[in-house]
Symmetry: C2
Subunit: 406 residues, 2 copies
């Protein structure tokens, strides 16, 4: 069994970096705080006897040697970056559960046949640099390196520049090597396990998602003397599209999600009719056909609303991550380990995207979910129970050892 207290303590220590008043963490990708988090992880792994490799996307691999180091490793991991209103568990848990597995192997002097690695994937959240899971995407060949390094934040800073600045632009090529298996432990980020009082989610699939950027252009003009009937108010158009996006989500229940998370108004002055609004749309569904129908409804609805409001519209889909079926063997290993350990469980579909989604294209992959309080994530109030976190880590330990000795 892994060391529950040690796992918890590392989570709390990492959570202090960028720690917020409300008990969360704000450690946006490739900021100084992200660097501090990475440095701490690297130090811990070196202390545990691991060899560190950093690739050109800043992905970090901490390797514990096996008996036969010519075998591909079994890899665990997730991400250390957070949302602006991030919690202490999203991503971080999957990374530090990997470290805890390595420490437990050390404690018990266990030699695995294949090497075992704990990994950190750069900019999984996609909050500072869209889209999400960029660097596991480059690793898996979904994006090319140039695309990855040129992702830019709202100030125009690129991932390439920021990786250099914080000293994590590594030498290793991104991808091009095989994993025996990849396992990502994660909090569920939704309410299902808690509602059904289950300890472990055996993740069989991840739902699909599409991200969009819309720019509506009208004409800025004075909020007083400009008659309503002749206005071209970009924010009124955006408001109608936001309400429609919500309706598209509601109309495709159960399971559909549709969200406008980011919006910027120009010139953003109280007595000026907004001339331009930039905003994003995120739609999701486990079934790609329905996701496609939601996409159609979005395109047609936005077009109609923009036309009615006499606005110009730039409409760009910037990302499509189709539904992911995880590897049957890996899923079975997780289910078996859970049962052997006597934990309650259920199969489930991930509502969030994860690095495991892209890695599943190049390696046998699956995920282990543990409950989180009230299903809340991407929120400073995100919480998970130390027992549940330990349970997920024990499942990870079993699945990893099994695959490493296979």
């Amino acid at each position: 069994r892994i060391n529950k207290q040690r796992l918890w303590d590392t989570l709390m220590e990492m959570g202090e970096i960028g720690g917020t008043e409300k008990g969360g963490s704000c450690r946006l990708a490739l900021t100084d705080l992200d660097k501090q988090g990475r440095d701490l992880f690297v130090r811990w792994c070196e202390e545990a006897g691991c060899t560190i490799t950093v690739d050109k996307m800043g992905n970090i691999f901490a390797r514990r040697a096996g008996e036969d180091n010519s075998l591909p490793p079994v890899v665990m991991g997730s991400h250390l970056d957070t949302q602006p209103t991030g919690g202490k568990f999203d991503g971080v848990y999957g990374v530090l559960a990997g470290l805890e597995v390595i420490r437990t192997l050390n404690d018990n002097d266990i030699k695995t046949r294949a090497p075992v690695e704990a990994s950190v994937w750069t900019n999984e959240e996609g909050s500072r640099f869209p889209p999400a899971m960029v660097s596991s995407g480059v690793f898996a060949g979904e994006f090319d390196l140039e695309y990855g390094l040129s992702r830019a934040d709202l100030d125009g800073k690129t991932m390439g520049e920021e990786l250099k600045r914080i000293g994590y632009a590594g030498d290793a090529d991104v991808g091009g090597r095989s994993f025996k298996a990849f396992f990502e432990a994660h909090i569920e980020q939704g309410p299902i396990l808690e509602d059904e009082d289950k300890k472990i989610g055996v993740v069989t699939d991840a739902q699909g998602q599409r991200w969009y950027e819309l720019t509506l252009t009208g004409q800025e003009s004075h909020a007083g003397p400009t008659p309503m009937p002749i206005r071209r108010d970009a924010l009124v158009g955006a408001a109608r599209i936001i309400d429609m996006v919500n309706r598209i989500g509601m109309d495709n229940q159960p399971n559909a999600c549709a969200t406008v998370g980011l919006l910027q108004v120009f010139p953003n002055s109280r007595n000026v009719i907004p001339g331009e609004v930039f905003f994003t749309v995120d739609i999701r569904h486990p079934n790609d056909k329905i996701l496609e129908q939601m996409d159609q409804a979005l395109r047609e609805g936005a077009e109609r609303i923009a036309e009615d409001a006499r606005l110009e519209m730039e409409f760009k889909q910037i990302w499509h991550s189709p539904p992911v079926p995880f590897n049957k063997d890996c899923v079975d290993s997780v289910r078996r380990a859970t049962e052997e350990l006597g934990f309650s469980h259920r199969d489930m579909v991930s509502g969030a995207g994860h690095d495991a989604c892209y890695i599943s294209r190049v390696a046998p992959t699956s995920m282990i979910f543990v409950p989180c309080e009230d299903g809340i994530s991407h929120n400073e109030a995100e919480r998970a129970d130390p027992d549940d976190l330990a349970a997920g880590c024990d499942v990870l330990f079993r699945a990893v050892v099994q695959h490493a000795n296979d």
Copy 2:
């Protein structure tokens, strides 16, 4: 007659300060650029032989002595601050038309009985520091000095601090002295004069307006695994209120205006359900009864929408500027001067608020409008015809000389 070319040249020279690529000016209140504009105005006035007074709100008065300097002055003026997407004429024209009147009096060696002053009022736009017309409001006793100096921008910087920083926190008390009359020349900022091919708007009234600040609070949560039916999405609530605000404007045609100009989303991340949205509402009508009904519709509608969306709402009215009837004598002087000069004209109600609105509470006041292209203002494309600007300035000259010799 005033000097058309000189008036145009001063407008163009002032417009260069904060000049934008699209031909407008961005000179937000109490920025370094506002200081530069003020310095230029002060230099021009001193060169024209005026004495400068700056009051504690940074209002500037450039006085040309009269025959009897114990008489209260006739004052002209407007503001030099602009919107983020400001033009070269809004406000600036009323200030520099005042300077042009003084220069024309000098050219023709005209001595007026009462002194004549050109004035600049601080932060008329209310874009950086809400509400609008703050400093003419303090002058007129609508706001006390402490309120004026403590107005803060979105970064928390106050007018008091910024006045000190740019060297325009003057010594003179704000208000407490009388004007024989006050005249403000301004571009119309709406389409009526152009549509009806009239050169001069004789402004009889200004419509009323109310400004609000709303904060909706829901719960930030993950855009993927959080089921639609349990979300508390602050941006969806805001979107519905924005659409309703627009409907309140449309339902009260003709004449009503209703605008959401400023909106900020928190945490503003693509895959986070917005937990908080702050936005402003601006409603206007020439009839205070109807404005009151619009206020009721806004309050009740917003309450209902917030409740339906399970959001908390903070609803604050931050400003009420009731409809203003201008002084009959001053209005008649403007109409008479216009007729004597042979310019086409019509009476009209101002859609925008102006410093003249507050000054009218403490002095006989009226306004002179000239057409602006396509009725567009608060936009870098704002344009006015040199002939129209000169015509308005000629009307101002006649009205001022008449009142100064009265």
